[in-house]
Symmetry: C2
Subunit: 407 residues, 2 copies
């Protein structure tokens, strides 16, 4: 007698056949062993979550508008939340936009998924960084995009190479659907894209009739230097969209992110959202709005910046102290965000080293996980937002021990 | 100088090109005119939402586990919530399943979307009711399924016709990917599928190597008669999945639904969920769990059943009193749920009548919206969960006036 597993191969979609479990999630399971210091995840530090403030905020929301907050809401999002974001984007980013540019999503991951849905047919070329955010790789692969990798160096994505790719595909009569960038303190590398490259990227979009997606989860977590403009506000023709989230500057629990895009494309994104889950939670949006309306976001970000800056400093100091740079190790010094990126000497392989690291009770994510083509085997990502300063220092010591043994 | 709207036609995916704004949403905008009694929507009655209970529940959750409730959570869902649902499904549905059968989603709409993603390639045949839930039509159309309509009569979906379709496609060498049913108090018709048809449907799945999706948002809102078994627990081979939601028995605000499916398919659904939005809100799941753990669900459902039963009675009585059945009008008498379905005399067209109804300050949804092939123009859907009893009676009177004028 047949079971459903026997008939599934004939029933599954082609898109689902290529779905893979997130490698990081499998890795994270290994790091849960007792005594392992995990520098692998990317979680915000929960001690920063405004738990106390939320008690009063939720009570206020339930008192004032409980029935509305528990009902279905508009697909586009809570209009009050959007109005706040319009103002925020004007004041902080110089963006000359109104509420028609906004869609509230269930986190930034949903934003990426909806963008994939609206732009990608199987086989469509899109440009992503080598390395880039793993969730974006998964989202775009889920639509069977043809990912084209462009190296990310210390100035961000190599736009000269982007130009070559665009020209090459254009010559073949193929359309690159979009260019996906994480310009500020990129996950995983921590690198920030230079102003010159941002400008050049936009010019390339105009020249080759394609668009750019600016994914900026960490932008407000800057520990040094001056912010560079987002690509969106530099663009007066609607070619640049951006993806944002409250996960890193508030908390991931409520699952709230947003897309800023030209109204010409917003219509499609809203319809895709309606199909995907009708609307984002009215309840968590109402809570978020009350938090913002009380003026709590800016002081909260300031507090997070102070906290993460110290942890980043601790990690950089430990790397300087314990890892022998002259033996061929190198790492980034990001101006913000929650990650550092380490390059090992060419002959070392972070995939192979990983089980040995877990034996030494320290974990990272191998850089190859962020290269869709499995390159970057001599790189790895370190997180400093979640572990304590003591864990950071001890974790780097353990890594250094391992590296020295391998030299 | 080109704007993004000029280049979009070359950039959009084929899937996005066929996306349409939900007709109901456009209709609902019309019903917001002052004085219009809307029997059009499908919103739960907000006076039932447990606002007071939630104040204490949220305070408890924030006190006990604030940091965890505001962090990312497992893609599969909060294990405590799943454990509760395992028990609930065992006790209430006789389902012999464990936690590996569960995925918590952002509402039932996301469940349908994920199922579409995992099963449908463009052009794949699937079977849906004529009529059926509009959000399912949208979700499956979003993947460009080839929808095959099978009439729904007073015993539910016509399984004889299902068999003909399955045979016809099988003979052509084509695979029907799944059969989508809303067996209990169907949206929009209110009809419940007979036990005989449920059994036959499962037999057909076995015979033709396809699966059935049982969408049951209203199942616990039964006002009379005895529950019939869900298809899932009748099935020992994993061919029947089901989709559930807290939206109608608790509130839609937290966006919480779940899928019950054989572990063989769950793996794909979990990966699709990860790609779609990483995880469902830990915060709203923790709140929901606390509500369930306090034993509040059953009494809350009982209260909702009492409330909606009275409203349904009011609507049925008003229909009996004001609408001339002998002139060719007919309507369903559902044993539960939140909708009634009205059949007009053959020569009347609910699409054409709609603007006249709004002039008379009453609104419904035309039945054609629930027929993907635009048939059913002499049918319409009435909702009794959201309006007050007084509004229901007055609304039916206004409809009756209109119908009499048209006769």
């Amino acid at each position: 007698m047949k079971k459903v597993a026997d008939i599934l191969p004939g029933l599954l979609s082609n898109n689902s056949k290529i779905l893979r479990r997130s490698e990081i999630r499998e890795i994270l399971k290994l790091t849960r062993k007792p005594g392992v210091i995990s520098l692998a995840g990317g979680l915000p530090y929960p001690g920063l979550f405004p738990v106390e403030e939320l008690k009063d905020i939720v009570a206020t929301v339930l008192d004032r508008e409980g029935e509305q907050a528990l009902q279905y809401g508009p697909t586009e999002g809570d209009p009050r939340l959007i109005d706040f974001l319009v103002q925020w984007m004007r004041e902080h980013e110089g963006a000359d936009i109104d509420h028609n540019y906004f869609l509230i999503c269930s986190g930034a991951q949903q934003a990426l998924d909806l963008i994939g849905r609206v732009f990608i047919d199987p086989g469509d070329p899109i440009i992503v960084g080598l390395p880039t955010y793993l969730g974006a790789i998964q989202a775009f692969r889920g639509y069977r995009a043809n990912l084209i990798g462009v190296p990310v160096d210390k100035q961000g994505m190599d736009v000269e190479r982007v130009e070559e790719v665009l020209k090459e595909y254009s010559d073949k009569g193929l359309k690159v659907k979009f260019i996906y960038i994480v310009p500020d303190f990129q996950n995983p590398s921590g690198v920030t894209m230079s102003l010159e490259r941002r400008e050049k990227l936009l010019e390339l979009c105009y020249e080759y009739d394609t668009v750019t997606i600016d994914d900026s989860p960490y932008r407000d977590l800057r520990y040094e230097g001056e912010p560079l403009p987002m690509v969106g506000p530099m663009d007066k023709r609607g070619y640049a969209f951006s993806v944002h989230t409250f996960s890193k500057i508030f908390s991931p629990g409520p699952r709230l992110g947003w897309i800023v895009a030209n109204p010409a494309i917003m219509d499609k994104l809203v319809m895709a959202k309606q199909t995907a889950d009708l609307c984002t939670s009215s309840f968590t949006q109402a809570i978020m709005f009350e938090f913002l309306d009380r003026g709590l976001l800016k002081p909260h970000i300031d507090k997070a910046v102070e906290h993460y800056r110290k942890k980043q400093k601790a990690m950089l100091e430990a790397l300087d102290k314990y890892i022998p740079k002259d033996a061929g190790f190198d790492w980034t010094h990001p101006e913000g965000g929650v990650f550092l990126w380490v390059c090992l000497p060419e002959h070392m392989d972070a995939d192979i080293l990983f089980p040995k690291a877990v034996e030494k009770k320290v974990a990272y994510v191998m850089g190859s996980a962020f290269h869709f083509d499995r390159s970057g085997t001599n790189t790895l990502r370190l997180n400093f937002s979640f572990p304590s300063k003591e864990q950071i220092v001890e974790g780097i010591k353990r890594l250094a021990d391992l590296f020295k043994e391998e030299l």
